[in-house]
Structures are given as C-alpha cells and as structure tokens.
Symmetry: C2
Subunit: 238 residues, 2 copies
C-alpha cells in the first residue's frame, strides 16, 4: 500500500490531505474521508488505509488548513463553528478535496464517494446537498442539520446516515427533520440507521468520554456501521 | 432440502406450520418466520427455504389457525385485528410456534431467532417484549406499536427493525415512540433502519399496490433488509 501527503489549496488556505491506495493496473473507485472536529489525524488515516485495503483510492481531506488538529473542545468549537457558520466556505473546502481526488490518474471519476465522521459527516451531507458528483455519501455520527437544506432534485448521491440513538449532537428531532429534508428534497436513495444505546463518536476507540462525556466508542455500532458502508459501496461503486 | 408441514396447537386452535431445513450432523440454529396479514403462504415459505439454504432450521408459523389465508383487506383486518386486540393471545400463539421449533431434534435451542413481515413483524416484537428466549428478532415493515410496552430489563433478544420511511402503518411518530420504548425498557441491543422512498410491504414482490395502495415492493429495501438480517444472525447465532 502507498500512502503520502497531498498538498492542495482552497482560496487562500493551505490544505494537506493524506492519500492511501494500492497499485493497480486499472482505475479504481475513489473515496474521500472527512475528519472529526479534532482534525485530520491517526483515526481517519487508519480509515483511509482500510478503504485502500478494500481496493479504493482513499483521500483523507484536510478541512482546517495546514492539517491543524484540535487538542481540546474549545479548539474544536472554534474550528468547526467557523466552517459550519459559513456552509458555502465549508462546501468549497469539501469540493477542493473532491477535485484533488478526481484528478488522480489512478481514480475512476465515474465512481466517487465520500464518508465522514462527526463534523466530517456534516461535510459529506453538505456535498450531497449541493449535488456533488458522488455515488454515495456516508455520515458516521454526523450532525444532520444544515443552514441550506437540499433543494428538490439536487442530490445525486445515495445517502446513508449512521447515527447513535443517544447522540446528543443528533437527537431524535434532528433525525426526524433530516428525514423530512430528504423527503421534501426528493432524494432518490437515502437510509438512516439508528443504533440503540449508542452515543456520539461511536467509531473511534479513542472516544472514552474523557474529552466529551457524550462521545463514546461502541464496538457493535462501529462494526455494524462500517459493514453497512461496505454494503452500500458494493452496490454503487462496483 | 427437506420441507414439511408441522401441525401443532395453541389452546383450542389447530395451527399448521411449514418447516424447511437441510440435513445436518450437528444441531443448527433455529429461526421462526411469522407471516403477513395475508397468512402463511408462498411468500414466507420461500423465506423459510432461503433461511434453510443459509443453514438455519426455519419454521414458518401459522398465526391464524388451519393455515387460513386472507384474500382481501377486510379478511386481513379481521384476522389481524382479532389478535392485535388481544396481545396475550397473540403472544401465546407465537410462543406455541417457538416451543415447536425448540423441540425439534435438529435445533440448537441456545441459538433461536424470529423474523416477521408486516403483521409478523409485530408478532416478533411482542415475543421480544415478553422476554422470549430468542437471540434476535427482526421486523420487516412491521407495526411497531403495542398495548404492552417492554418492561425494563425484560427483553433478551437483539432487536432489529427494518422499516419504510413512507410506510403509513409505521409513521415517523410511531417509530419515535418505539425508540422511546426501547430506551425506557433498557433494551440492551436494538437498531432501527429506515429506508427512504419506501412504503409498506417492501419485501414482497407480489405487493404491487393493487390490494393496498401503500404496500409496494422495493427491490433495494428488500435486498438491503435481508442483508442486514443476515449480518445480525452472523453476529448472534454463530
């Protein structure tokens, strides 16, 4: 497996992504990986390598610039809040990563997808909402609300939302509103999977409740959600 | 594969189930299959054979007596309504089938599960609520409401609900109430999967909207829901 950093820009911000892929004689489907509020670190890099092991060209995007990482909740709030307050800016950063992925010679540009964790989940949903050329987007414990709901007929991607039933960042009312958004937006293919007894951050073994009381790893939900992502990719990327 | 009818009784009612299994030197996990409001017919028999092909001993239960089948919505309403109005009677019929399955010499009684479609979905949830010795219950487009909510700590089974987001028999408020019931009942393991653009009856190719306008086969949701059931069984029955 090859891994390397990829530098790119969006407006005046330097972004440093992380690429993982296997050598292949033929072009492979490409998958973007969007990081949590903590920034592009070990967790998403490992997920990118897992995707590469499955045959995908995986690019972990940098949404904060200079691969900045937060070390406490206040930094998370500042970094995430700044982007969520300006969805157009957030979407532009997401699009920049998509352009980088699509330009790679080993990528089949007709088979692209994006996954995201926590903050990254909201990024992939924003990309879907604006009609990005993605076959699928998968949100793992992402925030589902938006300032710019999907317009009717705009969304092209199959949408898969994987959420903890006890996640205070995606409470039942928010999930219900998201489902209404999908319905009203005439989204062709969407699914929501709700895991009982599951809090925020359930995919990340480092989520032990110490930084954020309501973010907790859940081995069941982690395994099930990854399997559901794989099933969807088997459907739409092959 | 072997298939045969099995006659059994509950109170004063004759029930005629349908068994499907492969010969096996060792005891196999057993799965009950509960029929739709139309009664035990070709649809659930085929599902029982599919389960047998996967290595399970599958018993399609008869909930109506004498393997009665409904031919129109009025008959469905009468047959289903009579049982749903008396959940204790409904549960007793379900238990009777479970006893038959557990008594089969080829069945490993420590590895039992139950699946149900439409009306049958509500049957498996009632069995879970009363604490039946099942490793898992799976409801496909079932009604989720009950007159006897799960008491705290009673449910042993892993609960998987597969529902159409546009199913008028399981509207969003009902799904939300079900999730609250699972939460309040301290159910250890539960999941709800909601399929967008999906009506009632999505697993049954015969559901073409003619008998019931809001029951419609959906190939995507059918395939995905069966795969999710299989994943859960791989977890808890092996």
């Amino acid at each position: 497996m090859q891994t390397r950093d990829i530098d790119y820009r969006c407006d005046d911000v330097n972004l440093r992504g992380y690429l993982a892929c296997h050598e292949s004689a033929e072009r492979r489907p490409g998958v973007l990986v969007f990081h949590e509020g903590l920034g592009l670190g070990d967790f998403v890099m490992e997920r990118a390598r897992r995707l590469a092991a499955l045959g995908y060209v995986a690019l972990a995007a940098d949404m904060f610039g200079d691969r900045r990482q937060a070390t406490n909740l206040q930094e998370v709030a500042t970094l995430v809040g700044g982007l969520r307050a300006e969805p157009q800016k957030l979407r532009a950063r997401g699009r920049a990563a998509l352009s980088v992925l699509a330009a790679l010679p080993q990528v089949d540009t007709t088979r692209l997808a994006a996954i995201g964790f926590c903050f990254g989940g909201s990024v992939v949903l924003e990309l879907a909402r604006e009609g990005a050329d993605l076959k699928a987007v998968v949100s793992f414990h992402g925030v589902l609300s938006t300032k710019m709901p999907a317009e009717a007929g705009r969304v092209k991607a199959s949408v898969l939302v994987l959420t903890g039933a006890e996640d205070p960042l995606a409470p039942p009312d928010q999930v219900a509103a998201f489902e209404r958004e999908m319905r009203d937006g005439g989204v062709r293919d969407w699914q929501v999977i709700s895991y009982g007894n599951t809090l925020h951050g359930f995919t990340n073994p480092a989520a032990d409740g110490s930084m954020m009381r309501t973010a907790l790893y859940n081995e069941h939900a982690d395994r099930r959600s990854w399997a559901s992502m794989r099933s969807l990719f088997d459907e739409v990327l092959t």
